[in-house]
């Protein structure tokens, strides 16, 4: 029994589970942003012309990286499942870390530093910025809490 458990402990890959799901989380948040705020609400503008060429290039790179990360994340996840190497607790922690990290990154770097677009136009954007970034921070904290719990429990088999 102990030997089996030891084998299982070796076989799951907690770090990889966390990293892969963080990639998925970030890409999913990017997709939610694109679908909800750009397409459904029409709050974000496609391009509001207040950014320069460098910002536009970084936006293009990030946007394409999100698409590729979504596909890569899911195929790496499928690979973990196939090898029975997924550690669910670490995977959940990674997912929330990824969701929160992307939300905060988008709120601070894309909206404020690169000024690619704002959350909403024609209104005072300050409360929106706060809500956006605090939501990101909350997701990040949930992810951090889940990580601590997952690390304390140690790797488990699915």
């Amino acid at each position: 029994m102990d030997e089996q458990r030891a084998h299982a402990r070796r076989a799951t890959e907690p770090r990889r589970s966390l990293a892969v799901c963080a990639v998925i989380g970030a890409a999913v948040m990017a997709a939610i942003d694109e679908i909800v705020f750009h397409q459904i609400l029409h709050w974000h503008h496609f391009y509001d012309r207040s950014s320069d060429g460098v910002a536009l290039l970084s936006d293009g790179l990030l946007h394409t990286a999100e698409l590729l990360a979504l596909v890569a994340g899911f195929v790496l996840f499928a690979d973990l499942r196939r090898r029975h190497a997924l550690s669910p607790a670490h995977a959940w922690a990674g997912l929330f870390l990824g969701l929160g990290a992307f939300q905060l990154f988008d709120g601070i770097v894309d909206h404020k530093l690169l000024r690619l677009h704002q959350i909403r136009y024609g209104v005072d954007v300050t409360p929106y910025d706060w809500a956006w970034n605090l939501a990101g921070l909350a997701l990040l904290l949930v992810g951090a809490g889940l990580s601590v719990r997952a690390i304390r429990r140690g790797p488990r088999t699915p």
Binding site: H7, F46, D59, L61, T64, L67, R83, A85
Partner: protein
């Protein structure tokens, strides 16, 4: 403003497309009858690719002149070539040709040094995206309106460069050299970014020398941007599927070399 009109030689292209699809279907059927594995979805991909190519080249497309041009560019230069490449036309042809002159000639072209260079992913991407930048970033687009031969050349380049890019990124067909997955994925990333920047730039300002309305430019540019996303997702999925299958084969060969093989050998009994 004549940007909306279909490119020249529509009947010839339509005929060539239909003939290619018939040939593909016959060749794939022949392979299956002799017992080769040739999945049916490849026939579907080829047929869809031909249909999209013909729709983009010959068909009426909705929207203003620039939107219509964007839709054409998307169908003819991006969506159709990727679907055609996924159907592995070169491998199918080689498997059908009997040993002899034509087969040797085709192989020598596929394995030639020139093909090797052209299929270097960054170079193929530069030809593909560079062509688009030249068309939209210079006065080329306004000139093509008055010169049908140039218009034809531009559209032929779109198809050829799209096919080359698809071949180089997917590398499903037997060619001179296999390029690594990181190189191909990195190329896809840079090409996708360049495409996104181009589309956003066109949203703000149309190609030099043209006078499209702002609404038309906005619709066309967004169509280009999100259509590009769809094609990138398709290419990324093709690369991911290749990686998944290749690592699966490596695990099956044993854990000694693969490193991660331990988990695949047996279903572990639950403790």
């Amino acid at each position: 403003m004549t940007a909306g009109h279909p490119p020249p030689l529509a009947p010839v292209v339509a005929l060539a497309g239909v003939l290619a699809d018939v040939a593909y279907t016959l060749a794939a059927g022949r392979l299956r009858r002799r017992g080769d594995g040739w999945p049916r979805w490849r026939d579907g991909a080829f047929g869809t690719g031909v249909a999209l190519l013909l729709w983009g080249w010959c068909g009426p497309l909705p929207g203003g002149p620039f939107t219509e041009h964007s839709a054409r560019h998307l169908l003819v230069g991006m969506a159709a070539p990727v679907l055609l490449v996924l159907a592995r036309p070169l491998a199918l042809t080689l498997r059908n040709l009997p040993p002899g002159g034509p087969r040797r000639a085709l192989l020598s072209v596929a394995h030639s040094r020139t093909a090797g260079w052209l299929l270097l992913p960054p170079l193929a991407a530069a030809l593909h995206i560079g062509g688009a930048w030249a068309l939209y970033g210079t006065g080329l687009m306004s000139v093509t309106h008055h010169h049908p031969p140039l218009d034809l050349l531009v559209h032929l380049h779109m198809v050829a460069a799209g096919l080359l890019f698809g071949f180089a990124v997917c590398q499903l067909d037997p060619v001179r050299r296999r390029r690594s997955l990181p190189l191909r994925a990195g190329t896809l990333l840079l090409a996708g970014a360049a495409h996104a920047v181009l589309a956003k730039g066109l949203y703000a300002a149309g190609p030099p020398g043209t006078a499209f309305t702002a609404g038309d430019l906005h619709t066309g540019a967004q169509l280009m941007y999100y259509g590009g996303d769809a094609v990138e997702l398709l290419l990324a999925a093709a690369l991911a599927a290749q990686w998944y299958a290749a690592t699966g084969r490596r695990y099956a060969r044993g854990p000694a070399r693969g490193g991660h093989g331990a988990g695949l050998r047996v279903q572990r009994p639950r403790a």
